[in-house]
Structure formats: structure tokens, C-alpha cells
């Protein structure tokens, strides 16, 4: 039969399971009729998600499932099919969870599987936790060449909190470097059970995936709910679609929902008409309704995603439920950054864009702010650096904006001598008066690394003001280290450092762990004596000097010589702690300009003029925007964060 067209794989020959489609246990028409979304008996439904450390192959495994269950035609297949956003495809990571309904036959029974592919990056843990609440089971995927990593643990922990049935699976067994026996043992130790019970698959070749689908049907409990009770459905995601308005993803717990009935959002009491109801498979398929245990979507025609709040319960207006389902805790922004349009006149466009993006991303928080150096913009709260970077990129790409983002910072609680408390989300607003106490957020960080790097990791965490909380050997050569670290220290290139000092072997996970008092000061940067608020930073007193020296040196690098001298200073309060000078430019002329030079010279001038548009004025100092942006954000490590994890 040869190769399946469109299947993205480097193998010329595919295993029999993929090529002999005829033999696949996809239910025929008669059986399929029994798993129509509005009539499926809950016993025939299995809701599960795939969870793993970043890059362990969740989306690729999902691809094979989409194919084996026949919901995606071979010619329509492409790698990481469910990563549909451009940004996901470019970066090769999943950002949003995606639910898909698939048929699967075991024995002579057809089943409906609702699979949710989740993101692996630590910034999107909240996406995982929402997905978990819609499921009874989780496929815990581990790269057979890498073993257990920090997010493996974090996600497993979340799944266990939600009482999910865990199916441990080793992936990428096709890799020459795979060590399935070793990691099966590790995994079995972790989740309990026999190493032989750990399934071994390859999302790339499809090996073992059929068995995994069978295992899902066998092991994962069917949803239970009261079909006759008033409808209760949990909103686990809500997305804005330009054409269809808000699309709300729900998991039905009790009762059922049908098209054209009126529904109520229990927290806001807002009622809407159900214009459309359906399942995703993996494109939207309109259905006659959704019954107990189903996962699907609703469209009510509302344009404001806030009307359809994640965590809310949907019920029937005619026969409303009295008690709502437990919601989710709102994700709390951990990292803040100023977002400014490069071109000041884009401010309204930026506001509109944020409003729109917010419809898709409940975790996004923002408030207007102004900066002397940058003009009008927003202080935006993010879940982490990758989140920041992705939001910024989506704003630029989907809304065609040119943005500057200031160095990320965390939120500080400052208590003044007179007892007033101030919340500081923007370093330049750090109060100047007498300060009694400054509190900063801390995280509990879990780092997994080969044991040879224990000293290295401890050294790094120590430099970053970390407190060691404990250490465990997962196996002979793999250690879990736990630290309490100031979040602010993680925000700056921590992950890069960790990766480079452990030759890429360490992985990191962290979660908020309250706050602590610390000896923090604000360092200001002055250009020609004027404070450039965008460069102000709050740092530990002992690191103020280093920051000042680093920042002034960096600015000296990026500020081209002007027609006048430009002093650059770093100061804590009135005390200057570092100083550099950009000398005045004395010569800016091409000495020779004869016949043959004229075209060249005009083009150069036109280019310089074009370049001038790429300049930002800070006071009377002209700085190339790109360099300015680099200076503002290069230490964030956000970009590298995601990419390094991709290796």
C-alpha cells in the first residue's frame, strides 16, 4: 500500500497498524449510531487528557490517535495537528489545550473517547488543571530517552489531586537513545504498579498506540452523572472566534443540553439562547445535544468572553440546578511587564488588541500606565515569561502592532513607615520615602537533575537567594532538589543558567509559595540626568551595584554617539552607583562624493532615514528601537526559556 500521503514521518515504511486501516477497530455505522453525542450512554464515554513534561510528545501521540480513530483523513494529517495557532506551530509547543472526540471499538462495543491534549510548559499549568477537571483519567506520557522531568511530577500531582486514573506510558521508544526498561521502572515506582504495566509507544511510528487506546477504554472509569437531574455543565475553556463569537467548551456532569433551549450561567445568572451545540472531532460537528459525561462546545452568540467564565457552571433556564459545580481558582499573574506601542499613535489599537486577546486568554491582566520614556502603554500581568512572550508575539502578529516590552518584574508589597501599604507592579512606582518593609513573592521550585549536577544547582540557587528545602534521589543518578526562591530571581535568566550549567539536563518546575520580606532597593537609570523609568529595577541591595554596572555598560553599547555627550548613570535614591559616558560624535560625513558615489550616497541616506524611523527618542537622545528593546528585555530569558526546552 506504500506510504500514506500527508503523514508526516521520516520513515519510509509504516508499521502494519497504520497502513492496514481496514483492520482498525473503528466502529461501523451501526455501532456509531450508539455513540451520537446526544444519546451515548455514559458507560461508553471515556474522558482523558494527555499530560507530560514539555516536548515529551503529547501532541504527536494525539496525532496518531486522530489517525487511528479515523477522525482525521490521512491526506489532511499534519504533525501536531492540534497545535493550530501559528505561534504553536512555529515554536513547536502547545499553548492551548484541545479537546477532540474520537470513536474507538473494543470488543463489540463502540466507545466515544474525549481526548484533551495539554501544554507541557510550566506557564500553562493552569490550562492543564482546567483540562483535568473535565476528565476521569490521564495518560501520563514520559519520553523514554529523557525519563521523568519536573513537569512530569507537577502534572502527575495535579492529576492525582483530581482523583484521575493514571495510565503511565513511555513514548519515543523508536529513539535509539530510549531506555524503556529503566524508565518503566522509574515510572512504576512513581505511580505505583508493575513496570510491565507501563505501556510503550511511539507517537512517531504509531507503535503501541492501538494498545494504548484499548487500555484507555479498559482502565479509565466512565463518567457518572444523573441524566435526569437539572443540567450542570462545567466551563473549562472559552475562546473568542471572530466569526462565531464566543465558543464555550463544557463538560456535562448532569442532565443534558440541547440546541435552542435557554441556558443560565450560574455565577452571573445571565441567560442565553443556545444557538449551537456540538463536539470537536477535531473540527466542530453540530449535534442534537450533549448528554451526561460529554465534552463539547456551546455557542450563544455572545461577543464577550467574560459572559462565559471559565469555571462557571451552565444550567438549563427552564429547569435550573440549585448548586453549581466547584469552579477553578483564577490564575494569578506572576510576572509583570510594561507593553508599549513603538508608535505612540498605536495606543488605542493596542488597547483594542488586548481586549480581544483577553477573550481568548483569561489569564491576561492589564491596566493602562504611562512611561516618560515610552509614552502610553499597559502594565500587563502574565503567568510567566513564556506567557509574556507569546502574548507579545500574538499582539504583534495578529494585530499588526510593533511593541516594546519592559523587563519583566514581579509584584512587591511595600509597607511605609507610616503604615501605608503600597502594591508595586511597576518598579518606577516604587515609593521613595521611608520604607518599613518590602515583601516579594517566592516560589517553591522543584529541579530534577542528574546527581553529578547537585553542587552546580545548589550553587546557582544560592546565588539567586534560594533556600534549600530538601532533596530526594528518584533513582541512583537522578535527584530532585526543592528550593524556595524569590520569583524575581527566576524571572531573570534563571532557566538559561540552569540549562547551561547542567548541559541541558536539568528541568524546572515551580509554583507560588507566598511571599517574604527582603532588603530590596530600586535602581534608577539616568540618561543625561533624566530618569528613564523603563529601566528602573527593584533588586536586592547587594546586587544593586552589579545591576547598575551591567545596565549602564549595556546602554553605552547600544546608544549610538550623538552630537552631544550623553552621560549614563545608575542611582539608588540620590546616590550614583555606576556611570558611563557616550562621547559626542564628531564626524558624520562621507569624505568623497563624486560621480559614481552619488547613487550610493542617496541610497545610504534613504536607508538612514528609514533607520531613523526605527529610532526611539528618550529626551533628546536617539536610541535604535531594536537595541532599546533588547536592552529592556534581553535578560528576561523568556524566549530562550521556551526554545532551550525544545533543545
Amino acid at each position: 500500500m506504500g506510504q500514506w500521503p500527508g503523514l508526516v514521518t521520516t520513515d519510509d515504511t509504516l508499521p502494519a497498524t497504520l497502513t492496514e486501516r481496514i483492520a482498525l477497530p473503528i466502529p461501523g455505522p451501526a455501532l456509531s449510531a450508539r455513540i451520537e453525542p446526544n444519546v451515548t450512554a455514559p458507560e461508553l464515554i471515556r474522558n482523558f487528557c494527555i499530560i507530560a513534561h514539555i516536548d515529551h510528545g503529547k501532541s504527536t501521540l494525539a496525532d496518531r490517535m486522530l489517525q487511528l480513530t479515523g477522525v482525521v483523513e490521512p491526506r489532511a494529517m499534519r504533525a501536531q495537528y492540534l497545535d493550530r495557532m501559528d505561534i504553536e506551530r512555529e515554536r513547536g509547543i502547545t499553548i492551548k489545550s484541545q479537546a477532540v472526540r474520537m470513536p474507538w471499538q473494543l470488543g463489540d462495543q463502540a466507545h466515544a473517547l474525549n481526548m484533551i491534549d495539554t501544554p507541557g510548559h510550566v506557564d500553562f499549568t493552569y490550562e492543564v488543571s482546567r483540562s483535568l477537571a473535565a476528565c476521569e483519567g490521564a495518560v501520563l506520557l514520559v519520553d523514554a530517552a529523557q525519563g521523568i522531568e519536573a513537569q512530569t511530577l507537577a502534572n502527575l500531582y495535579l492529576a492525582m489531586e483530581n482523583d484521575l486514573e493514571i495510565i503511565p506510558v513511555l513514548n519515543k521508544i523508536d529513539l535509539p537513545a530510549a531506555q524503556p526498561e529503566k524508565y518503566a521502572e522509574e515510572l512504576a515506582n512513581l505511580v505505583g504498579g508493575d513496570p510491565d504495566d507501563v505501556l510503550k509507544v511511539s507517537g512517531k511510528t504509531g507503535a503501541g498506540v492501538e494498545a494504548l487506546l484499548d487500555r484507555i477504554v479498559e482502565r479509565i472509569p466512565a463518567p457518572v452523572g444523573d441524566a435526569d437531574a437539572p443540567a450542570r455543565a462545567m466551563i473549562f475553556d472559552s475562546v473568542y472566534d471572530t466569526y462565531r463569537g464566543v465558543v464555550t467548551y463544557v463538560r456535562v456532569i448532569d442532565g443534558s443540553l440541547s440546541p435552542r433551549e435557554r441556558i443560565v450561567m450560574m455565577s452571573t445568572r445571565a441567560t442565553h439562547e443556545l444557538l449551537e451545540i456540538g463536539v470537536i472531532s477535531p473540527d466542530p460537528i453540530v449535534t442534537k445535544g450533549l448528554g451526561v459525561g460529554e465534552v463539547g462546545y456551546l455557542i450563544t452568540g455572545v461577543k464577550d468572553v467574560r459572559q462565559s467564565k471559565v469555571g462557571d457552571t451552565v444550567t438549563n433556564a427552564g429547569k435550573p440546578a440549585t448548586e453549581s459545580l466547584g469552579g477553578y481558582s483564577e490564575p494569578k499573574p506572576m510576572v509583570f511587564s510594561g507593553l508599549y506601542p513603538v508608535d505612540g499613535s498605536d495606543y488605542p489599537a493596542l488597547r483594542d488588541a488586548l481586549d480581544k486577546l483577553k477573550l481568548n486568554d483569561a489569564a491576561l491582566n492589564y491596566e493602562p500606565e504611562t512611561s516618560v520614556a515610552l509614552g502610553f502603554g499597559f502594565r500587563v500581568g502574565f503567568l510567566g515569561l513564556l506567557h509574556l512572550e507569546i502574548v507579545r508575539e500574538r499582539l504583534e502578529r495578529e494585530f499588526d502592532l510593533d511593541l516594546i516590552s519592559t523587563a519583566p518584574n514581579v509584584v512587591y508589597d511595600v509597607t511605609l513607615d507610616d503604615g501605608t501599604e503600597v502594591k508595586v507592579t511597576n518598579p518606577s512606582e516604587f515609593p521613595g520615602g521611608k520604607i518599613k518593609e518590602v515583601r516579594e513573592p517566592v516560589v517553591r521550585a522543584t529541579i530534577l537533575a542528574p546527581s553529578e549536577f547537585v553542587g552546580t544547582v545548589m550553587g546557582l540557587c544560592n546565588d539567586r537567594r534560594g533556600q534549600m528545602d530538601g532533596m530526594d534521589y528518584l533513582s541512583e543518578d537522578r535527584v530532585e532538589l526543592r528550593f524556595t526562591l524569590p520569583l524575581a530571581e527566576i524571572v531573570f535568566d534563571f532557566f538559561d543558567q540552569l540549562k547551561s550549567r547542567t548541559r541541558g539536563y536539568a528541568s524546572l518546575d515551580y509554583e507560588p509559595q507566598g511571599d517574604q520580606a527582603a532588603d530590596l532597593v530600586k535602581v534608577d537609570i539616568l540618561l543625561q540626568g533624566d530618569q528613564v523609568d523603563a529601566f528602573s529595577a527593584i533588586v536586592h541591595r547587594e546586587k544593586a551595584y552589579d545591576y547598575g554596572v551591567m545596565m549602564t555598560a549595556k546602554l553605552k553599547e547600544i546608544i549610538p554617539r550623538q552630537q552631544f555627550e550623553v552621560p549614563i548613570q545608575a542611582a539608588v535614591g540620590a546616590r550614583v552607583i555606576a556611570r558611563e559616558t557616550v562621547r559626542a560624535m564628531r564626524k558624520d560625513v562621507l569624505a568623497k562624493c563624486y560621480g559614481g558615489d552619488i547613487s550610493r550616497k542617496r541610497k545610504l541616506l534613504e536607508k538612514q532615514k528609514e533607520g531613523k524611523k526605527r529610532m526611539k527618542n528618550i529626551g533628546s537622545v536617539e536610541v535604535p528601537k531594536d537595541a532599546f528593546i533588547a536592552a529592556l528585555s534581553s535578560d528576561s530569558g523568556g524566549g530562550k526559556d521556551a526554545k532551550d526546552k525544545k533543545k
Binding site: 564626524k587 560625513v589 569624505a591 562624493c593 560621480g595 559614481g596 547613487s599
Partner: protein
């Protein structure tokens, strides 16, 4: 000369891109615009490490055949030029200036240069009092060759002296003996030629005193014209590689600025006033009119491989149909002498590419060139939106205040050093 600009193709017959409107007679009735001829001679005995001009040594060309035949080849282009201009109704203008540049024009026998000049004269006629210059290396002339040139109608010679200091000349890989320069100058003057000397400043290792010594040496010869150029380390040159390898330091801009100031000071004191950013002359009558024509936007035809040309649109008046005409056209020839010769032999234009200037581009050039010269530019010639910038530039000492009050944009010494920055501020 660096790589050729990007442009569109030049038609095989070299036709100019101007619609033929009005009668030729009508155009000719208008005051003819000045017209110059540049003749590029792409030969040198050795290539200096800093030089990226379009020039070749005999060994690079595989023998001297190209040189021997060069005058004949160049004259073919003169014929072509005469035809093309004639067709455009721009034919009957006498040539106000001719400039032989290189390379080293004096690598050719003086008789060959004379023959080319005669060809130019035959084609258009030399205007009475016309200026005819050749560049020369101090070691490529003799009293006799200079006399032949003068007799043939040459009026000026410009020697590449570069420096009077041996270690600087060595870094520049110049072959001539600095002691020969005053002799060459004297021979040229004896032959009745106006003389100019070229200098380069800011060579790695050149001290301010070295530079002063070179300036003094120039002044001692009593020449009436000096060009002084800040050394540019051009990509693709041997010197560029030396800098990259760390064998030579990159010229320092502050050092070059100080040297420019010193040059301007000493030359001015000696009676040579600046008339262009890098050129000084003892009075306007000694300025190089050919080069001034470039800065004024006059027409010229460049003969030779890699030579550039410029012709403004024939009618300054916006004649109805001529409105779609570009404001002017710049074009440039193929760079390699062999390809150049082949094209001409087959009757084709040697043009490699051309560029039709939009009125906005022409205006930009007018400012960027006009600002470089002493007479400056009328404030009225600036884009309306940029006239306000003049005051700021005067306040910062970059433009001459008195001139500004009189309605002209003229650079101060400091302004000349920052001329490109000034131009950026004066153009929209």
C-alpha cells in the same frame, strides 16, 4: 569602486528614457545646460591596499592588450554617446569640462589620452576656456609626458600624493617616493598645468604631527588646489582584510575629525579656502569645475568600464506630455574592461544598469550634493517642512548663521564634519 548599484537594464542602443516632446530645435533654443565628460581609465601598475576603484593591473588583465587598445575602445563609446544624446535632442552642447580619472590615466601613453580628448572635441566641441583634468600618480609622469598633455589641451593635473610621510605611504602601499612629488608638481606647472594634490588622512599609525607634516609639504609646493580625504576602509580591499585580521587598526573617527580641522585651519591660513567638504582652492578660478558640476547636478557622460553618467530630463518646464518623464537618469557601465570592449565592438551600449530618478529622489540629491559646497543651497530649495530645521542647525553651530539670514544653507567647519547628519535633518 564598490559593486555597481542595483538598477534596471539599459537598452542595447543606450537610448535615454525621455519622451521626445517638442522639437529638437525648441530644446536647443533653451539655454543649454552645462555638459561634462568623464573618462575612466581602469589601469594601475599595482593596486594600493585601500583602493576599491574599478582598476586592474596588467597581470590581472592577462597582458597589456587592453591598455594598448583602450583609446580605440573608449572612442567607440564617445561615438555612441554623441549619437544617443543627439537622438534625445541634447546633442549640440559643447563640453565644458573633461576629467580623466582612474585608476591611473597616466598609465596610458600621453598620446592615447590626447587622442581620446581629440575624439571628445570632435564629437561635441570643447567649450572655450574648457577645463581638462587628468589624475596621475607622481611616479607615472615625466616632464615630457606632461608637456604632451598640455599641448593636447589638458589644463589641470591632480596627483595622488596621499601623504609625505614614508611610514604612512608604506601602510597605504603607495609606491612613489615622496620626494618626487615636488618635482612632479614643478614639471606640471612648467608645462602650464594647474595642479592639485590628493591627500588621505587618518591612516592607521598616522600621528597628528605626521598629518601636519603632509599638509606642510603640500603647502610648500605652492599648489593652488588640494583634496583631502578621510581614509575609508572599503569592504573587499586588502586593507579591510588587514583590519579584520587585526593587523591594522580601524581609523578612528575622532582622530579624523581632528585632522580635518587641522587641514582646514592650515589650508585656510595659506590662502586655500574650502569650496567643498573635502576640497580647497586658492580662489574660485582654481576650483575643479568638473567636480563642481557633479555637486551642482549638471549633466555628464562617463566613458569607460564602470563609469557612471547622469543626464537630467531635457525640459525643466513641465511640458504636458513630458510630465511622465523621470527627473533624470543615472546609469553605469559594466565594470570589466574586456566585457566593456566586447559590448562596444558589437555595437551595443556598455551600460550595465540605470536608475530613473523620481522628482523626490532628484530633490534629495540636490540637497545632499548642494550642501557639500561652499556656495551652499538656497533655503527655498529645501522641502517646506524642513526649513524650520535650519534655525536649530544654526543654533548648534552646524550651519552658518549669516548665510542662513541671507537665505542660504552653508555648512560651518563643524557642520562639514557632520554634513551627513545635517542632510538627514534637512530632508523629509
Amino acid at each position: 569602486m564598490p559593486a555597481l548599484p542595483e538598477g534596471t537594464a539599459v537598452p542595447d542602443d543606450g537610448t535615454l528614457p525621455f519622451a521626445r516632446v517638442g522639437s529638437v530645435a525648441l530644446r536647443q533654443a533653451q539655454e543649454p545646460r552645462p555638459f561634462g565628460v568623464y573618462v575612466h581609465v581602469p589601469f594601475c601598475s599595482v593596486r594600493c591596499g585601500y583602493c576599491d576603484f574599478n582598476t586592474y593591473t596588467a597581470s590581472e588583465l592577462g597582458g597589456g592588450a587592453n591598455q594598448a587598445a583602450y583609446a580605440t575602445t573608449a572612442l567607440r563609446e564617445v561615438d555612441l554617446a554623441a549619437r544617443v544624446l543627439d537622438d534625445a535632442g541634447l546633442g549640440s552642447r559643447p563640453v565644458s569640462t573633461v576629467f580623466f580619472g582612474g585608476g591611473t590615466p597616466t598609465m596610458l601613453p600621453a598620446a592615447d589620452l590626447a587622442r581620446i580628448l581629440r575624439g571628445v572635441d570632435d564629437a561635441w566641441g570643447l567649450a572655450p576656456g574648457g577645463e581638462v583634468t587628468t589624475e596621475a600618480n607622481p611616479d607615472s609622469v615625466t616632464p615630457e609626458s606632461l608637456r604632451v598633455l598640455a599641448d593636447a589641451g589638458f589644463t589641470r593635473v591632480s596627483f595622488g600624493m596621499q601623504s609625505a610621510v614614508p611610514h604612512v605611504l608604506a601602510t597605504l602601499e603607495r609606491t612613489h617616493d615622496p620626494r618626487r612629488v615636488p618635482d612632479a608638481v614643478a614639471w606640471a606647472r612648467d608645462a602650464g598645468l594647474d595642479v592639485s594634490l590628493d591627500l588621505i588622512y587618518g591612516t592607521p599609525g598616522e600621528s597628528l604631527d605626521d598629518w601636519r607634516a603632509s599638509l606642510e609639504a603640500v603647502l610648500a609646493t605652492g599648489v593652488d588646489h588640494v583634496s583631502a580625504y578621510a581614509l575609508v576602509v572599503e569592504p573587499g580591499t586588502k586593507m579591510h582584510a588587514q583590519v579584520r585580521r587585526g593587523e591594522l587598526a580601524l581609523p578612528d573617527e575622532d582622530d579624523q575629525a581632528a585632522k580635518y580641522e587641522l587641514a582646514d585651519e592650515l589650508l585656510t591660513e595659506a590662502g586655500l579656502g574650502w569650496y567643498e567638504v573635502s576640497n580647497w582652492a586658492r580662489g574660485p578660478e582654481h576650483a575643479c569645475r568638473h567636480n563642481l558640476a557633479y555637486w551642482r547636478g549638471d549633466d555628464w557622460w562617463g566613458i569607460g568600464p564602470g563609469a557612471h553618467s547622469y543626464v537630467a530630463a531635457p525640459s525643466a518646464e513641465p511640458v504636458e506630455a513630458a510630465h511622465a518623464d523621470p527627473a533624470g537618469v543615472r546609469w553605469w557601465n559594466v565594470k570589466h574592461p574586456r566585457r566593456y570592449a566586447t559590448l562596444l565592438e558589437s555595437g551595443s551600449s556598455p551600460g550595465a544598469g540605470r536608475e530613473l530618478l523620481t522628482p523626490a529622489e532628484a530633490q534629495l540629491e540636490r540637497v545632499l550634493l548642494g550642501v557639500r559646497v561652499r556656495e551652499g543651497l538656497e533655503v527655498d530649495a529645501l522641502d517646506r517642512s524642513r526649513r524650520a530645521a535650519v534655525a536649530g542647525l544654526v543654533a548648534r553651530g552646524l550651519l552658518d548663521g549669516v548665510a542662513a539670514v541671507r537665505g542660504r544653507v552653508v555648512l560651518t567647519r563643524q557642520g562639514r564634519l557632520l554634513a551627513d547628519a545635517v542632510v538627514r535633518e534637512l530632508t523629509p
